[in-house]
C-alpha cells in the first residue's frame, strides 16, 4: 500500500511518521505525475491559501480530482480539510471542491485560542486527543456526509465515502488510530 503525503507545504513529516506507525509505506509527493501511482493521499495541515495556490499552479489539483474520481481515498487535516471542501464561508475561491461540506476558516479564533482536548471520534476511538491550531470547523454537510466528531456542537471530523477530513491534527499526537482508520478505507477501496 503506497500512501502519498502532499508535500507542497505543511506538516508532512508528522503524517509520514504516523502512517508508517500504522503500517503503511508513505512518501512525500510534490509533482502531479507522482499521484496516479498512489493508493491513498493525505493533504496535511499548513496554510490552505499556500497549499491551494501551489496545487493550482502546477496542475496538481486536476490530478487529485482525477484520483478522487477513481474512488481512491483522500484524507485532509485542518488546511487539508479546507482544500477538500466544496464551499468555504466568506470566500468564493475553493481548491479541490470535492467534499460536500461548508467550512469556516480560523473558526475558533487566533493562535492564543488554539487548544487541545479529548473527543470521541465515531468508528475510531471513544476518546481521542484532538489538537486544534487556528482550526476550521464544518458548518454544514451534504446528505452523503457522515459526521464523525463534534466539539461544542461544531462538526470537526467527517467522512464522505472515500474522503476523510478532520479539523484537528492527529499527526501531532502519538495516537495512530485515525491514520489506521484511513488505511482501512484505502484497503477497502482497493
Amino acid at each position: 500500500m503506497n500512501i502519498g503525503v502532499l508535500a507542497l507545504q505543511g506538516a508532512v513529516a508528522e503524517h509520514i511518521r504516523m502512517l508508517e506507525k500504522a503500517g503503511a509505506r508513505a512518501i512525500p509527493v510534490k509533482r502531479a505525475e507522482e499521484i496516479p501511482a498512489l493508493d491513498g493521499l493525505v493533504i496535511p495541515g499548513g496554510e490552505s491559501t499556500t497549499i491551494g495556490r501551489l496545487m493550482k499552479k502546477y496542475g496538481i489539483d486536476e490530478e487529485v480530482r482525477e484520483f478522487s474520481a477513481q474512488g481512491k481515498p483522500i484524507f485532509g487535516t485542518c488546511a487539508g480539510l479546507i482544500v477538500l471542501a466544496k464551499r468555504i464561508a466568506g470566500q468564493d475561491e475553493t481548491y479541490l471542491g470535492l467534499m460536500d461540506i461548508t467550512v469556516e476558516r480560523n473558526a475558533f479564533g487566533r493562535q492564543r485560542e488554539s487548544f487541545e482536548t479529548d473527543l470521541p471520534v465515531a468508528g475510531v476511538a471513544d476518546r481521542f486527543r484532538a489538537v486544534f491550531i487556528r482550526a476550521p470547523y464544518i458548518r454544514e454537510v451534504g446528505e452523503n456526509v457522515e459526521v464523525l466528531s463534534k466539539f461544542q456542537d461544531r462538526i470537526v471530523a467527517a467522512r464522505q465515502g472515500h474522503l476523510l477530513a478532520t479539523a484537528f491534527h492527529p499527526e501531532l499526537t502519538d495516537d495512530e488510530r485515525v491514520h489506521a482508520y484511513f488505511l482501512q478505507m484505502v484497503n477497502e477501496s482497493a
Binding site: 499548513g46 499556500t50 493562535q111 488554539s114 487548544f115 482536548t117 491550531i133 487556528r134
Partner: protein
C-alpha cells in the same frame, strides 16, 4: 477539559508553517500581496530591517495600529517583533492577538543579560540563533520555533548560511556522541542538558528551525532549504526589490520546489533587480545585529 497554550499547540503552530515563507510587511496592502503570493504568515512591522538599519536610533515594537491593520487585512497568521527581554512589549503583542512573537535582535535589546521567560505566555515565540547552544537556550526559555539570525537587512545570505551550517554540524556531532560525553558538551555549548539529550536521541531540534537574515532571491531561499531549513523568513528582500509581487511568488515557489533546478531557472527569469545588498565586512561590530542576544 480544554487546554490552551500547551507546548504541543505552540510548537504545532510552527510545524504547520514548514516548507513555507514568512514575509515582512509594513501595511495592509503589502500584507495582501504576501497572502496572495502564498506566504504562510506575515511579520507586521513599522519598517523592514533594511530601513531600521538605515534609520539608526532605538528600534522598538511596532505601533499597535500597524499590527491591527495587518491583522484585519489577511486571514493567514500574523507575527510581530518585540525587543529582546522586553516582557511588556511581548504582553502587549499577546493582548493584541498576534499569532506569534519574534523576540528579535533586529530591534534594540531592552535587557543586556536576560531574554523573556516565554513559558508563561499563551502565544508562541520564535527566536534567532547562530549556533546550537543559543538555539537550545532559547528553547529552554520557552521558544517554540527557532530561526537563524543571519544578518538582517543586508540582502546578504552569507551569515544565515554560516549559522545554519554551524547548527547542522553541531547537531550531527551531538547525535554521534557517546551518552557520557553529553554533560561536558552541554557545558561547552551553554545548552540545557535535557534538550541536548533530545538532540542526541532525535538528530534534530525539538522545534522547527527556519532560515532568516539576508534572504534576497528565490535561489537564496532554495539554498537555505537545501541546507536543512524547515522554511524561510524574508525581511527586506521582497518589498525592497524592484518587483515585490513577482519576488514574493517566486520565493514561495522556490521554497516549495527547492530541489527542482529547472523550475528554479524558470522562476528566476526576468524577475528584475533584487534588493541592493551590503557586504558584511563593511559593517562595524556595533552594526552587526546578530551579536545581540545572550
Amino acid at each position: 477539559m480544554v487546554e490552551v497554550g500547551t507546548t504541543r499547540v505552540k510548537r504545532g503552530m510552527a510545524e504547520m508553517q514548514k516548507g513555507g515563507v514568512i514575509m515582512d510587511v509594513t501595511n495592509a496592502e503589502q500584507a495582501k500581496i504576501a497572502e496572495a503570493a502564498g506566504a504562510v504568515a506575515v511579520m507586521a512591522l513599522e519598517r523592514v530591517p533594511a530601513d531600521i538599519r538605515a534609520a539608526g536610533g532605538v528600534a522598538r515594537m511596532a505601533d499597535p495600529r500597524v499590527i491591527e491593520e495587518v491583522m484585519n487585512a489577511v486571514s493567514i497568521p500574523v507575527m510581530a517583533k518585540c525587543r529582546i527581554g522586553h516582557y511588556v512589549e511581548a504582553k502587549i503583542l499577546e493582548a493584541l492577538g498576534v499569532d506569534y512573537i519574534d523576540e528579535s535582535e533586529v530591534l534594540t535589546p531592552a535587557d543586556d543579560r536576560f531574554h523573556i521567560n516565554k513559558h508563561e505566555f499563551t502565544v508562541p515565540f520564535v527566536c534567532g540563533a547562530r549556533d546550537l547552544g543559543e538555539a537550545l537556550r532559547r528553547i529552554g526559555e520557552g521558544a517554540s520555533m527557532i530561526r537563524t539570525k543571519g544578518e538582517a537587512g543586508t540582502g546578504n545570505i552569507v551569515e544565515a548560511v554560516r549559522h545554519m551550517r554551524t547548527m547542522q554540524a553541531q547537531i550531527r556531532k551531538v547525535q554521534n556522541m557517546s551518552p557520557d560525553e553529553l554533560m561536558a558538551e552541554a557545558k561547552a555549548l551553554g545548552a540545557p542538558y535535557e534538550l541536548l539529550k533530545y538532540v542526541h536521541e532525535h538528530g534534530r531540534l525539538p522545534v522547527v528551525n527556519f532560515a532568516a537574515g539576508g534572504v534576497a532571491t528565490p535561489a537564496d531561499a532554495a539554498l537555505m532549504m537545501y541546507l536543512g531549513a524547515d522554511g524561510v523568513f524574508v525581511g527586506s528582500g521582497i518589498f525592497k526589490s524592484e518587483n515585490p509581487e513577482k519576488y514574493a511568488r517566486a520565493i514561495v515557489e522556490a521554497t516549495a520546489h527547492y530541489d527542482d533546478y529547472e523550475r528554479l531557472a524558470h522562476l528566476m527569469k526576468g524577475l528584475g533587480g533584487a534588493m541592493k545588498g551590503i557586504d558584511i565586512a563593511s559593517l562595524g561590530e556595533d552594526q552587526r545585529l546578530q551579536e545581540r542576544g545572550w
